[in-house]
Amino acid sequence: MAETVIGPRTKVQGALEGADRLVVRGLVKGTVSVDGPVLVAPGGTLEAEVAAVEVAIAGAVVGRVTARGRVEILPAARMVGDVRTPRILISDGAVFRGKVDMDFADGEGATHG
């Protein structure tokens, strides 16, 4: 799968959408809509409304995350925002404040409601 990588010294302000895997090492502010996996790497920051298939968070996220596959909030993560996904993993060490809604109807499109 091809990738979109937002580097550590990059800021994106606006809407990012697509079908490539997204790796955020820098800053993305706005909206993210990915028909695939999203990784917020350590040091990366996402201040956005996110819709994707899978979302793995090892950096900072402020915003609402909707993933039709699953969400992983990893040990280095700091997240503020609500999560809607059928499967979630919140690791020991993660800092998370938000609601989790796992009531996800089968096959419901997450790439945009």
Partner: protein, 152 residues
């Protein structure tokens, strides 16, 4: 760090502004603006409907917008630019096409690259990529005149 960069994948679209202190390589699409203190590369198949401001710019895809390079601008054989370009150094390869104003002399000669001759290309048959071994340096440049948006 010269070994990190931003890549916009072939199936991705960024609508908005990208601002970077590292290279930005567009395989997909950007609608808005791209600014970097390093290089901006619009790859073959990539489209930037955006004003681009960077130290070095390489267009192997399509750009609809103005380009301001403080060091060097290269348009490769598949590159297409619809817009105004300004750069102290310009290379237009056979096959490349530009429709717009070209300004090379309006920048002061201090914009000539010293420590860094950066030529980036991904596709074969092109120049090899040389990573910069110099530490990232602050690009001192005058604020370019506000380019006109190229939206239809």
């Amino acid at each position: 760090m010269a070994d990190t960069r931003t890549e916009i994948g072939p199936a991705s679209v960024v609508t908005g502004e990208i601002e970077a202190q590292e290279d930005v390589v567009v395989f997909g699409r950007v609608e808005g603006g791209v600014r970097s203190t390093a290089a901006v590369v619009v790859e073959e198949g990539g489209l930037a409907r955006a004003n681009i401001v960077a130290a070095s710019v390489v267009v192997a895809g399509s750009v609809i917008g103005d380009i301001h390079a403080t060091e060097r601008l290269e348009i490769t054989e598949k590159g297409r630019v619809l817009g105004n370009v300004a750069s102290p150094r310009l290379v237009l390869q056979a096959g490349g096409a530009v429709k717009g104003q070209v300004a090379m002399s309006s920048r002061p000669p201090e914009a000539q690259p010293q420590s860094r001759t950066y030529s980036y290309r991904q596709t074969p048959g092109a120049t090899t990529r040389r990573s910069s071994t110099t530490p990232p340096r602050k690009v001192v440049r005058e604020e370019p005149p506000e380019p006109q948006p190229k939206e239809g």
